[in-house]
């Protein structure tokens, strides 16, 4: 009885979601099918190649310098995530635990900095990096990404931290723990889900970022995936669409897997008191 109701609900749910799911999967299908077409069939909008060319992925890998770009993307995304989390945790902790002069100012400043997108600031940012002689330096891009993630990270963490009772740390203090010990042993373990979620957001933003990378990275050896793929279609005299699609497809796989794996934490982390 219960099973049949569940079954009915499942069918209805999938039916309602189906238009959206088709719309989501469509570009992936386009990517995949174009990627395995022989070069001579790419321009014909057929839905299946006469003979799938799996070798396209290998030729693409070599022709597009894919490995280096993949490594650069991972490097930038991981480091900038770690960095923004490391500076955001103490800031969020301070905002959620203490009253102090200037707190309102800091919060407003963070909200405003959230509104400044890289494209609006790109001319000024570029001058900054030039002044520091950090152009074409992946580490500089790490700093910029980390910074643009701070506002969001602090806000996420702060609203979550506020739901962790202060009593827990105070109890630890009573028992003679130093503030650092209280933080490490009591607070941080409780905060872990929120930190995970925030880290995922930061990682995605860095992984997908386009404008900063486009302006600040000049050398193909330092390109990240989005600009590497973009450079394959931007203003060349011919576009090898099967390579472009193969590259886009392969670039999508790692993060899609990470997503499938972490997606439940994402919702749980948000659920546990965020956005208050």
């Amino acid at each position: 009885m219960r099973t049949s109701r569940l079954l009915r609900r499942s069918i209805i749910s999938w039916l309602i979601l189906s238009p959206l799911i088709i719309a989501v999967l469509f570009p992936f299908a386009v990517m995949f099918i174009t990627a395995i077409k022989p070069a001579t069939e790419v321009l014909r909008p057929t839905w299946w190649p006469s003979s799938p060319q799996w070798g396209n992925f290998i030729t693409m890998w070599n022709a597009t310098n894919f490995g280096a770009a993949l490594w650069n993307s991972i490097y930038v995304a991981v480091l900038s995530t770690v960095m923004s989390i490391l500076v955001s945790i103490p800031a969020a902790y301070a905002l959620s635990r203490f009253r102090f002069v200037g707190k309102g100012f800091v919060q407003q400043f963070l909200l405003i900095s959230q509104m400044l997108s890289p494209i609006v600031l790109v001319i000024g940012l570029f001058r900054l990096l030039v002044a520091l002689k950090l152009l074409d330096n992946l580490n500089a891009v790490v700093f910029v990404y980390a910074t643009f993630n701070i506002a969001f990270s602090v806000w996420m963490l702060q609203s979550y931290f506020s739901t962790i009772p202060k009593d827990l740390e105070e109890a630890a203090w009573m028992e003679g723990a130093t503030p650092w010990q209280a933080l490490r042993k009591v607070f941080l373990p409780l905060a872990l889900p929120a930190v995970t979620v925030t880290a995922i957001f930061s990682f995605i933003n860095a992984w997908n970022e386009f404008v900063i990378a486009l302006t600040m990275l000049r050398n193909q050896a330092s390109y990240t995936l989005p600009i590497q793929v973009f450079s394959l279609v931007a203003g060349r005299y011919t576009v090898e669409w099967h390579h472009v699609m193969a590259a886009a497809f392969v670039a999508t796989i790692p993060i899609a897997i990470v997503f499938a794996w972490l997606q439940r934490y994402l919702v749980r982390g948000l659920a546990l008191g965020a956005v208050k």
Partner: protein, 413 residues
């Protein structure tokens, strides 16, 4: 806390993690436009060869997609972080010269060196009697036609005039199927250029002798009318405003387009991607008075005035313009030879496709040397798109574009 302090703190912080790239005494950075997937490897190879022949030098190649080249150069220069050498569209050169950014090369150019070039291609880079760039890439435009479609439709020779072109397009349309007579580009870079072919054939000019735009003239109206008629009568591909140059070329490679006007590099692409395609290359159709014009384009490699290693940079330029290096580059990319010796090589001299292009060179016209050219091209393209879409009357749209262009000319004086 002073800004300076912050700067130092951040600089040291970043420097601590930065992968230190030891600066060679003789480092030459070169910003290179990416024409195809072969461009990057070609320049990397040239750099390696050059470094081997000149110990102690380090040539760094920065490959930039063409679409963002202008943006990168602009930001680079504004931040004082430009390379030593860069490829630019020659049509941008006047801005670089008037702002003192490009260095004159005359001190380096010997008569012997100058003698290497075909003059048509070197002259656009000469301003006020000084040479500011060398033509790294040169091309002109001619008409490609699909021989198989022509045969099926019973067309014996490529059309010599626009009237003949229209007749040919009608015959191809009559064949049925999803073939289109004339491929018309209506989007992105060179949308305006595609219109100039018709404009020039009607005796029109981009800029009149009095220094104003030539778009508000009878010739321009007539030229636009030719294209508009082709569109309205279904003789072009549908949705012209959604097809850029590469899209139209793709249709041609598929054998679905009877005629299109484009650059010599299409031959290279056909050789690789559609080797079975039967095609020919012919002159761009002429107007009623026999006027015709093709678009000549060069990209120049320039040296920056603020370069610290001008001598080494020049040496590298010199190396790039040796006959062997030029031949290798032009063969890779499908550009026209700019070097007389190179042009005489069998590889180029015996190439029937290229001959059609070089024959047109006497009627080649280059983008006018005028500040703000990109903005004018955009105004022209916008007017054309309105006309092609039927959203604007021909005369009104072109007059409006002409007024915009005249405003830009005035503002830049």
């Amino acid at each position: 806390m002073s800004l300076h302090w912050l700067k130092v703190a951040a600089a040291t912080g970043v420097a601590a993690v930065a992968l230190a790239s030891a600066a060679y005494a003789q480092t030459v950075r070169v910003t290179v436009a990416e024409y195809s997937s072969k461009t990057g490897p070609y320049f990397e190879k040239a750099a390696t060869e050059f470094e081997a022949a000149n110990p102690g030098t380090d040539v760094q190649i920065e490959v930039v997609p063409w679409d963002v080249l202008q943006q990168k150069l602009t930001t680079d220069i504004s931040g004082g972080a430009n390379a030593d050498l860069a490829i630019i569209g020659t049509r941008w050169l006047i801005d670089y010269v008037s702002q003192g950014i490009a260095a004159p090369l005359d001190d380096y150019i010997t008569d012997d060196f100058r003698g290497r070039f075909i003059d048509t291609f070197l002259s656009p880079s000469v301003m006020d009697g000084k040479t500011y760039g060398l033509p790294i890439a040169a091309s002109a435009r001619a008409m490609y036609y699909n021989k198989a479609l022509f045969e099926q439709a019973g067309i014996t020779a490529p059309p010599a005039t626009w009237d003949e072109l229209k007749a040919a397009a009608e015959k191809i349309k009559a064949l049925g199927g999803d073939n289109y007579g004339f491929g018309l580009q209506g989007k992105e870079i060179e949308t305006d250029v595609y219109f100039y072919y018709a404009l020039w054939s009607q005796g029109g000019n981009l800029i009149e002798e009095d220094g104003t735009s030539g778009l508000d003239t009878e010739a321009a109206y007539k030229a636009a009318q030719i294209y508009k008629d082709l569109i309205d009568q279904g003789l072009t591909e549908p949705g012209v405003t959604s097809l850029n140059r590469e899209d139209v070329q793709n249709l041609f490679k598929q054998g679905r387009i009877g005629m299109m006007i484009t650059a010599p590099f299409l031959s290279n692409q056909i050789k690789e991607e559609a080797p079975d395609l039967q095609y020919g290359v012919a002159a761009i159709p002429a107007g009623p008075n026999g006027d015709r014009g093709t678009y000549g384009v060069t990209d120049s490699i320039i040296m920056f005035e603020n370069s610290q290693n001008k001598d080494t940079a020049w040496k590298f330029m010199d190396y790039l313009f040796t006959t062997e290096k030029r031949a290798e580059f032009d063969e890779n990319e499908g550009f026209l030879p700019v070097n007389a010796q190179e042009a005489a090589m069998p590889l180029f001299a015996d190439n029937a496709d290229l001959k059609a292009f070089t024959d047109l060179l006497p009627s080649a016209r280059f983008a006018p040397v005028i500040a703000g050219w990109e903005e004018m091209a955009a105004a022209t393209s916008n007017a054309l798109q309105r006309i092609y879409l039927g959203e604007g009357e021909i005369q009104a749209s072109l007059d409006q574009a002409a007024a915009e262009i005249n405003g830009i000319i005035e503002a830049n004086q």
